[in-house]
């Protein structure tokens, strides 16, 4: 049995890529090491009856992918129900962002927010086409590559002189500078910076790709608003699985790939298939890896088949995760001061200093004394996630270093779990009494459980040096690699991480060319 393509990893990008390949008539096999597909978006029953997933909301999942792959008919719910974003304040006078409406801040900030948001949306709109394009190869004179460059230039130019100048000025700016220019309210600044920072090794004062990350997350019609689909995030995975299967892709779980087979004559080495951990060999005309680039090249291919300079670039990719995950099984609705129902994304970061200080601890390999968090109560959107009367609280905890000084121990994990719960208790004083069970996953845990290097959400840090035609690095940035027949389709490719489906979509277009 020979496949046209073997996709390694049934995370959402692997499934998207497989579905597109299947739709084009290719015979596709998806291999997933875990018991079920989904990767960081998989359903996780962290104690019987209580469900969560590492990724707990969607913001810019591609509408094109959803339409092309008929995800609606496979159970993917509408995303019209946007979640409000709540900036928690001690004392309960929270600020609430819901679409264009902003409540709980002064009039000046409310006005500034409208202007800021409009400008950011114009920028985001100008960038929209590029998330779905293969980035040009540097030095290439191929018409398609030249067109992409020209298109980008034209889109920037079409923004008008003022916007273009402003875009070029703010693109690499530390998010703090942008916030301080426009707003006064500390909590507002923290909330509006949140999506520029979460998932990256960046704090408000860090220059680099924070503004671009924010604009990336403002792609698609939601323009940065998050939502939890019907059936929660894992429903996206289930619909992708069904879609891929309907298009003829075969999906095998509990099938861990231990090696990508690079074979052939001395001068035409190419990826010819994979070997599973149990020794089984599977042949294919091409291998498409949805796992992260480090794992793909260093572990599965092996350096013997790679040039030294390329290997060195892969080795130096920055992939250390800084987000931990806390799941709480609660005996009832969490009682947040000043919130009748804790619906939405609750951001527990009083101001940008709080974010910066948590980062300062972590960047030196320490645990943050006072972590900052993003929480959702997904069981409010989908009651099936918890037994009747019970609730699930899901929290991203920043910044928790993948490389903890002295290494991760049970004691260190315990200490961090307590600090995270303490941070919640500042806003929901009774929370400790409500906890039936808790699960705390460090980036090191995420790496081990989900086989993602560094436990990094985006496989490869979303940073200027690892973006666009540099993502993950040149010679592997167009979904192809130096090894013929080996392709990448994961979050380590352009445009990047989060649940978008764009890398899987773009990779499939390249493979099908």
């Amino acid at each position: 049995m020979r496949y046209d393509a073997i996709v390694i990893g049934a995370g959402h990008n692997g499934l998207v890529c497989a579905a597109y390949l299947g739709r084009a008539g290719r015979r596709v096999l998806v291999l997933e090491a875990a018991e079920a597909p989904g990767g960081l978006a998989a359903d996780r029953e962290f104690i019987p009856g209580f469900h969560a997933s590492i990724a707990h909301s969607l913001s810019h999942f591609s509408a094109k992918v959803a339409t092309d792959l008929k995800l609606g008919t496979h159970g993917f719910g509408e995303l019209k129900q946007r979640l409000p974003t709540v900036g928690l304040r001690l004392g309960g006078e929270h600020l609430v962002l819901e679409g264009d409406a902003l409540a709980g801040v002064g009039a000046d900030d409310a006005t500034a927010y409208g202007d800021h948001q409009k400008r950011m949306r114009r920028f985001a709109a100008a960038l929209d086409p590029f998330w779905f394009k293969t980035m040009p190869r540097i030095g290439s004179a191929k018409p398609a590559d030249v067109r992409t460059f020209a298109h980008l230039g034209l889109n920037l130019r079409r923004m008008g002189k003022d916007d273009m100048r402003e875009f070029l000025r703010v693109a690499p700016l530390p998010i703090r500078d942008l916030m301080d220019e426009h707003f006064a309210d500390g909590a507002l600044k923290a909330v509006l910076s949140w999506d520029a920072l979460i998932g990256a090794k960046l704090a408000p004062r860090s220059p680099n790709g924070a503004v671009l990350a924010m604009l990336y997350r403002m792609a698609e019609a939601s323009r940065g608003m998050h939502s939890i689909p019907l059936g929660s995030v894992p429903s996206l995975i289930e619909s992708l699985r069904r879609s891929a299967a309907a298009f003829g892709a075969e999906i095998r779980c509990a099938a861990e790939v231990s090696r990508i087979l690079v074979e052939g004559g001395a001068n035409d080495l190419a990826a010819k298939g994979v070997q599973l951990a149990d020794g089984e060999r599977l042949d294919a005309d091409c291998v498409v890896s949805a796992t992260d680039p480090k794992r793909t090249f260093l572990d599965l291919v092996g350096v013997r088949f790679l040039d030294i300079g390329f290997t060195n670039r892969i080795r130096r990719l920055r992939c250390d995760g800084y987000v931990a995950k806390l799941h709480l099984a609660l005996d009832g609705l969490p009682e947040f001061d000043g919130l009748e129902r804790p619906r939405g994304r609750l951001i527990a970061a009083p101001d940008m200093d709080a974010i910066e200080f948590a980062f300062d601890d972590a960047k030196h390999g320490g645990l943050p004394a006072r972590p900052v968090l993003e929480m959702v109560v997904p069981s409010l959107e989908d009651a099936s996630l918890a037994p009747p009367g019970r609730q699930v609280l899901s929290a991203h905890v920043l910044y928790v270093p993948y490389r903890l000084q002295g290494g991760w121990t049970d004691a260190a994990r315990e200490r961090m779990r307590e600090r995270a719960i303490d941070a919640i208790a500042q806003y929901a004083p009774r929370i400790r009494d409500q906890i039936i069970h808790s699960e705390f996953l460090t980036p090191a845990d995420l790496e081990r459980e989900h086989r993602v290097t560094g436990g990094h959400w985006h496989h490869v840090e979303f940073a200027l040096d690892q973006l666009l035609m540099m993502r993950p690095t040149y010679e592997a940035a167009q979904y192809s690699t130096p090894i013929p027949g080996l392709h990448l389709c994961g979050a380590g490719c352009h445009p990047g991480g989060d649940l978008t489906g764009a890398p899987g979509h773009n990779a499939a277009q390249e493979i099908l060319q």
Binding site: A266, N267, R304, D307, I308, G309, N312
Partner: protein
């Protein structure tokens, strides 16, 4: 008064052979190599050159960079790094190699000594530790140790070199074929002898622990007393190697990792070292780029030239016509060769013109006045200097 040296740590190091070399360097003509004080010449460069060609002479190669690479994966690691097939090197043999960037540009050349199945020594002109570290990444069982300061090395070159070593008591040295490695006991410690060198003549390289360096020197000079032994420096080396057609970094090639301008470095094919590139072996760094280059042909080809007249063509430009309207290359090294009695040069010539007519525009000075002349060049396919004794086993007089 104990004045503190404000330049401590910046002064040149001295080689284990330095005390003897200092005494013999009557001209105090020093240069430096890899941070070591190093003789440019001792008495007279041309005299030393004639010692190499007519008797024997020693050249201190201690400042050369030496790395031990050992472990189960050592061979695989080196085989991915260099373009030659390391698996084909037999134990106690030496192989000349180059290693390249991903783009197939030469980083450096050097020699690999296969000491055992899992033990190699790599020698090269410039420090290479960083590239070795990158090359070793991903191989579980390989250790790279920098032996540069831990191993003294002396090159003994010339027609009487074999006889001198025999007289030193190295019985069986006459059986060493070119590129063989032999091991002898010297003051109860290992003396490694390889039949290698950089002169194109009969010659050996002696490898010894630094604390025995002076004993080795003294006994070697005692053995060589009636065989014309003499030290030589960088200037004479450069003459001898050019006659042999050997390339020199900074002359024939620019080390790729130190090259700023696009393709101002060279590929093995451009350096006429295509024979070092083995496409039948497992993957190596630069393979895809070199395969592509082999298919389209190198842009330049390093060419040996025999040039009319006796003016060394140093820094000369090469043209395809006498009127010098079509420039096709440049001279990398040039000299009047006393051994060959010819005006020789190495030149980088655009490959498409390498087979055609070649003219050198030579500039020279006579008592502060500048002159130039255009002379015809003849292409040579064989080394200018390749005496039979360089390959004979046993060598003459042994």
């Amino acid at each position: 008064m104990n004045a503190i040296d404000p330049y401590a740590g910046e002064r040149l190091k001295t080689s284990p052979f330095h005390p003897r070399q200092r005494a013999l360097n009557v001209r105090d003509a020093w240069t430096s190599w890899n941070g070591y004080q190093f003789a440019l010449h001792y008495y007279d460069a041309e005299y030393e050159y004639f010692c190499i060609r007519n008797a024997c002479a020693t050249y201190d190669i201690s400042p050369m960079q030496k790395y031990e690479i050992r472990g189960r994966d050592a061979e695989a690691m080196l085989n991915r790094m260099v373009t030659r097939d390391v698996a084909k090197i037999k134990p106690n043999r030496v192989a000349y190699c180059v290693w390249c960037t991903d783009a197939g540009r030469v980083i450096d050349d050097g020699t690999i000594f296969k000491l055992a199945g899992d033990r190699f020594m790599l020698t090269c002109g410039s420090p290479c530790a960083a590239w070795l570290e990158k090359s070793a990444f991903g191989f579980a069982e390989v250790q790279v140790t920098d032996l540069s300061d831990a191993l003294a090395a002396l090159s003994l070159q010339g027609p009487t070199s074999g006889a001198v070593l025999k007289k030193l008591g190295l019985n069986g040295v006459e059986n060493a074929k070119p590129f063989d490695i032999q091991h002898f006991s010297f003051h109860c410690h290992e003396l490694r002898v390889s039949r290698t060198g950089f002169t194109g003549d009969l010659g050996y390289e002696l490898w010894i622990q630094p604390d025995l360096a002076l004993e080795l020197w003294d006994e070697l000079y005692a053995a060589g007393e009636h065989h014309g032994i003499h030290p030589y420096g960088e200037a004479a080396t450069n003459m001898a190697r050019l006659e042999a057609g050997f390339i020199m970094p900074g002359m024939e090639f620019n080390e790729a990792l130190k090259t700023v301008r696009f393709e101002h470095d060279q590929t093995p094919f451009e350096l006429n070292l295509g024979w070092l590139v083995d496409f039948s072996k497992p993957h190596f760094s630069g393979r895809r780029a070199l395969l592509a280059e082999q298919e389209r042909g190198p842009r330049y080809t390093l060419t040996k030239l025999d040039i009319e007249g006796n003016r060394p063509a140093e820094d000369a430009r090469i043209y395809a016509n006498k009127r010098c309207t079509k420039e096709v290359g440049y001279v990398t090294s040039a000299m009047w060769s006393p051994a060959v009695k010819a005006n020789i040069a190495l030149a980088m010539i655009e490959t498409e013109h390498a087979q055609g007519e070649l003219w050198a525009e030579i500039h020279y000075e006579k008592e502060l006045r500048q002159y130039s002349r255009v002379v015809r060049c003849q292409r040579k396919d064989q080394p200018f200097w390749a005496p039979a004794r360089a390959k004979a086993t046993p060598p003459p007089d042994c």
